[in-house]
Symmetry: C2
Subunit: 193 residues, 2 copies
Amino acid sequence: MKISLGARTLVYPTPVFCVGTYDAEGKPNAMAVAWGGVCCSKPPCVAISLRKATYTYGSLVESKAFTVSVPSRDHVVAADYFGIASGRDVDKFAAAGLTPARSDLVDAPYVAEFPLVLECKVVHVAELGLHTLFVGEILDVKIEEDCLDAEGKPSADLVRPFTWAPGDNLYYALGEKLGRGFTVGKALQEEKE
Amino acid sequence: MKISLGARTLVYPTPVFCVGTYDAEGKPNAMAVAWGGVCCSKPPCVAISLRKATYTYGSLVESKAFTVSVPSRDHVVAADYFGIASGRDVDKFAAAGLTPARSDLVDAPYVAEFPLVLECKVVHVAELGLHTLFVGEILDVKIEEDCLDAEGKPSADLVRPFTWAPGDNLYYALGEKLGRGFTVGKALQEEKE
């Protein structure tokens, strides 16, 4: 039996994307966002949504560029901090003891210590209400060498990303493997069709 | 040391959203998408991206409505099947042995057996390339009663959602709890600022 919770933003899983920008003075900043996700395969694009009140919003509108740094579970405290503090008031990289690395492709910094990074230029903007949606074309993905498996392929087990659950307001690591995509459903396809 | 993987859609975590629509004849359909996420808090909105070639695309353009049914880990086979088969060729609900429930708010069906459902009307469309991004305003969220905790709040532990990792092409359950959002980072804020 389902019950109604009303109009709200409850869905699982949501990401923890640390969005990197430079402000007008060139100070690097990073902000954690859970409202985002991949939105196109060709060209590869990722969407993030920001409130206009955030410091990142103004920087991103000016530079039309951002990075997404994906934290590993070792960086949950820093990532959470990136979602609490404002770059208007403080140098969040310095406070978190993390290194802003300049992207060689877009005018934005990424978190050098985080294992996975997307470098993006803004290609679409939509005013939706409290949040503005920015679509960034992913110009490159960079990953720590030690997050590649024996075959040289990116491994979530080695990146060790985490997710945020809105209802409980909890961060969860990835857990048990449940099966392979575009594969486990084939049994049903062959059986039932 | 980071290495470049080129322009691609590698990021963690991505969701497994089962998008429900009716086709022109009123046949219910569901399609699994990993390209999506929340994109606005007020009004609450969720984005999903579809290739024009999918059967769901045509249905959604006509109806301007969709649902997002979030599968529990018990439904990983059915959810994967929803991402493999096409509603053009088959009744996917029937093949998966699942029940299409008519939304009372929008012209779209949801998966009755899945624990969490969002009912959405399309408020923005963006052509990005291979994919079209649809922003849906969330008119209501419905959840199974037994997915509420003792205080009546939605619990990810009880919904038991899962995520898809693009690099490995694996489904992962949620695992260990790593801390509370907007909380674990406060220590760093007090310590370093």
